[in-house]
Point group: C2
Chain length 339, copies 2
């Protein structure tokens, strides 16, 4: 299996991607194609003492920055590391592509170059969301700001397959993010989606209020990309703010400073439980190839875990399984329409 990795992008850029790829090759038994500045990559491989043959390099002359307008950048910068990586997936020269570059450009490029699975109207950004119990899959986390109910239905089917195969949860519980638990609650989109989801062949357990999301009682969380992005970013922001406020409190007296010292390892363990680097990256779910967005501040471990996630995704033939489910759904709709 070959995983293409974009070395241009992310706060820790080349260093994190090269080190993470070496670890992935050694620990996960995959081959990697590193895309970027050939000379710099070679130097970095050398510095890390890698002399094997399971890492290839493809040179890229350009780089898409976070500030560029996504569609424009993808269309114009044909020689960028991102466009090269996406084309490798499209042409089946790589089984998956991992990038910590611009989210917008990767989403747009995924749709324009790799293209959507037949029967899927929109691809969603699926994010592993850390909870008290473990992880839930949140989608859409920001790819589609305005959604129709049938998009949410498709997200639910894709998310359910993903959670089953990648998180290894049998019959995963799927919930609709809503502002009340009872049927009939919510905005027009949520009401219509609820009706569609209860008639979909997944383990739909109903609405979930945002208050209950961190408890982790649902495996898959469905919402439109606006709400999903708010959930994701508010979680990041709140965790950071709560930690910084606690730190201030702890530094306020001698006793509490000692207390904080004694708790240091507990805090570290706790932060690890919330650590995104453990769970790999976000996945563009609904395209004909595997495209993974690693976090912008990915370190080597995060890159390795994103590659691991890609490997599981490919091994479990998730795209094929989505295609099957969607075609069954479409046949059923056709029959229902004829009746």
């Amino acid at each position: 299996m070959k995983i293409a990795v974009d070395t241009m992008g992310g706060d820790q850029g080349l260093l994190a991607t090269v080190k993470g790829s070496i670890d992935a090759v050694e620990e996960l038994g995959v081959n990697v194609i590193l895309i970027g500045d050939q000379k710099a990559i070679k130097d970095e491989l050398f510095r890390n003492g890698y002399t094997g043959e399971r890492i290839e390099i493809i040179n890229a002359e350009e780089f898409i920055t976070n500030d560029e307008e996504p569609a424009m950048a993808i269309r114009r910068k044909k020689k960028s590391s991102m466009v090269i990586g996406l084309n490798l997936v499209k042409d089946k020269e790589a089984d998956a592509f991992v990038s910590s570059g611009s989210t917008g450009a990767l989403l747009t490029g995924g749709l324009l170059i790799v293209k959507r699975i037949k029967g899927i109207d929109r691809a969603a950004l699926a994010i592993p969301y850390p909870t008290k119990k473990g992880i839930s899959l949140l989608l859409d986390a920001g790819a589609n700001t305005d959604c129709k109910a049938k998009y949410l239905q498709q997200f639910a089917i894709m998310g359910s397959i993903y959670a089953e195969k990648v998180f290894n949860i049998s019959n995963p519980k799927v919930s609709l993010v809503n502002i009340g638990t009872e049927e009939g609650k919510g905005n027009e989109l949520a009401k219509e989606a609820f009706n569609m989801l209860k008639n979909t062949n997944i383990n739909f357990i109903g609405n979930i209020e945002a208050r209950d999301i961190p408890k982790g009682e649902s495996d898959v969380l469905i919402c439109d990309g606006f709400v999903g992005n708010v959930i994701l970013k508010l979680t990041e922001g709140l965790a950071m703010t709560i930690f910084s406020m606690l730190k201030e409190e702890f530094m306020s007296s001698f006793t509490s400073k000692i207390g904080a010292l004694l708790l240091k390892s507990s805090f570290k363990d706790f932060k690890a439980r919330l650590d995104y680097t453990e769970y790999g990256g976000a996945l563009l779910l609904g395209t004909k190839g595997v495209v993974i967005k690693a976090h912008g501040s990915s370190d080597a471990k995060a890159i390795k875990n994103a590659i691991r996630q890609a490997k599981i995704f490919v091994e479990n033939e998730i795209i094929e399984k989505i295609e099957e489910h969607i075609s069954v759904l479409e046949d059923k709709c056709d029959i229902e329409e004829k009746l």
Copy 2:
């Protein structure tokens, strides 16, 4: 000034409302009308040793529960404490009404009985949201699940006046909750609202990402009721989950138990900073009278602070100020339409 208080509803019901009202009468110099079971209220006043004449009692024979369908309950239960309280405000026999009963019923009743301010299309639920710096006002926190851009514009005007008068912030900073900071980001609603807000006579500072909400850099946060409710409930849920996870970590070893003990007062101080009881209740902003929803688990302090909030609201003639601003806006729109 007379504030009507619903003693039926809330987890701590009669005890919290009676005690909170006595404290309010003594500390804030307001008069209170307690609505509920007359005998029980009398007994509770006696138990608290209150013998003054600034608390009246109005007997209510019925009570609207949290499980009832709001519109139906308001229409049918004419003798309920909530309907009596709302009518007191409508008939100007009370200056404000505070209830910790069903949110849905109070919102519906506010609209049906007290009615909207002329020129305001929708009343919003405005909630003081605790941040690192202090508090921001979040609206709409759940009254209107589907919004038009002009509703958001009206929320922004009302929120700005509220923050200025109640929080005492001059020229309050108003932001639109969005999934990116740049103009042109977001769903159709956010894009349209952005355009209207930048041409509104308030201190609109642009989009705010959910990640930055807890930092408290904006005084007023504008969004539709679906998104607002998700923000509010996710914040509650995350804070609870983070505390319970920390507790687990702290109990995991002897050293960390001692650490936790030494930090006890720091934690208490910290929790106080996030404590909703400090900030009073949620306000139905846009009705012709002051209707405040106290938190369902309000204790006496929370009730007293909700009464304080009502007092500030009335003293500052906020409804009159909203009416002025909205009529200016309407005149301007009329002129623009004619041009």
